[in-house]
Amino acid sequence: LQGGGSAVIDMENMDDTSGSSFEDMGEMHQRMKEEEEEEAEGEAGAAEEEDGEFLGMKGLQGQLGRQVADQMWQAGKRQASRAFSLYANIDILRPYFDVEPVQVRARLLESMIPVKMINFPQKIAGELYGPLMLVFTLVAILLHGMKTSDTIIREGTLMGTAIGTCFGYWLGVSSFIYFLAYLCNAQITLVQMLSLLGYGLFGHCITLFVTYNIHFHSLFYIFWLGVGGLSTLRMVAVLLSRTVGHTQRLILCGTLAALHMLFLLYLHFAYHKVVEGILDTLEGPNMPPFQRVARDIPVVSNAVLNTTAKAVALTL
């Protein structure tokens, strides 16, 4: 039985369409505001007394309309703040940053050592501090490479491109491999995949740091195969240990190896410069015009041009 003067609001009579949660909210709120309602109703009743009906529907609806609107607003505000505190709460990420410097150093070194035991699932630490720092370091190295190679980005900034490339690779390839792992029934979670790929970027950082400054193609290829290969092998071995079935292993590990090695290749050749460019940066505009290092490409392109011209001449 409802107490006199405070009625449970019958939502069906109102023309706003509200979900059930609002009804609950409305009820809770209404119970909390019971005294205010009684006072307000008393005042409204006193004002509407000439209608004769103290609890007449007309007076009540005007009053109730305002109160319902107020309750909807409060309920909405409460839900929004709850959602905000749930999703914008950085404490969700806090457990992934719970590391010691010794652990980070150990994991960095481990990321270059392929494991031998692939029949037993290897442990992957689900930590995000190391990978995040490695991605930022890669961004800094990439920025250095882009500047010294005099890359000109139109319709954008160097910084935006560097950040977009590195974060896009880390997040995008991790999600893609996680999706493939889901298809191939591999035992790995998304955070573990992010962590694994992030630490795999350590090899990339070393390689690019050395080869953006000392610029010889043969040195780059040695680093690419050696350092890049080692970190790829480590990631592949860990994934192998967590997958069963030959086809699945082949798909998963082949994709990861290909993407990882190709990314390093892309980062080197996209921001490529010649040796004399270093001197240009150091000595400013007073350098005499430099000669580019001769490459095989003009010979190839000449041959291509010649054969094309001959083919065109033959057809005409």
Partner: protein
């Protein structure tokens, strides 16, 4: 609480102890009165506060002034002046004048936000804006380095000038990192200081490297 009704203190037992009344911050009174004061007074007061913080950065002692009364005016002024000085320093300055300013601005603020989030996630006790304030103010040595570099580049741009600029920028980079570490690392658990110092040093390294590779037109 009913049982304590009959407890009473007899008058011959002296009551001892210390009572320290916390000095209320006078900002409510000031807020009322700062509306009526002339604009010059407000600006001068804010400038003095900013100047005091500059002094604290240049001589980093363990004081909490930077943390207690944080403000973002100083970082804004430093960031804008640094970005203006770094503008127009790329190879093709015809269409790179714009992005250069935006780059520096974005690097400084985005980097500061990331470092703050990182130190909070690692269990730091400092608040978001305090950390932004400290990181912004510690860009001051690098701004000084930028001024010096520009002056040196006016004189000439050979190897000697490069070496001078390298030394100056390296010294200022060290100063910035030390200053910000002095303020920020205290808020971390002691064994995790290295985890917070690394992103800070990377941040200032990127800025110093942008200053060092600046070539005027």
């Amino acid at each position: 609480f009913a049982g304590l009704a009959d407890v009473s203190i007899s008058e011959d037992i002296p009551v001892e102890g210390e009572i320290t009344v916390p000095v209320g911050s006078q900002s409510p009174d000031e807020d009322f009165s700062t509306l009526d004061e002339p604009v010059r007074d407000t600006i001068l007061r804010d400038l003095k506060a900013v100047g005091k913080k500059f002094v604290h950065v240049m001589y980093p002692k363990k004081s909490s002034t930077l943390l207690r009364d944080w403000d973002l005016w100083g970082p804004l002024v430093l960031c804008v002046s640094l970005a203006l000085m770094l503008q127009g320093g790329s190879a093709d300055s015809k269409d790179d004048g714009g992005p250069q300013f935006a780059e520096v601005f974005v690097i400084i603020w985005f980097g500061a936000v990331v470092i703050t989030l990182n130190s909070k996630l690692l269990g730091g006790t400092i608040s978001f804006f305090q950390s932004l304030c400290v990181l912004g103010y510690c860009v001051l040595p690098l701004t000084v380095a930028m001024l010096v570099c520009r002056l040196v580049l006016l004189a000439g741009s050979g190897t000697v000038s490069f070496i001078i600029r390298l030394i100056v920028v390296a010294a200022m980079f060290g100063w910035s990192t030390l200053a910000s570490t002095a303020f920020l690392a205290d808020s971390q658990p002691p064994n995790r200081k290295a985890l917070v110092v690394y992103p800070i040093s990377l941040f200032y390294f990127v800025i110093s490297w942008m200053i060092l590779t600046f070539t005027p037109q």
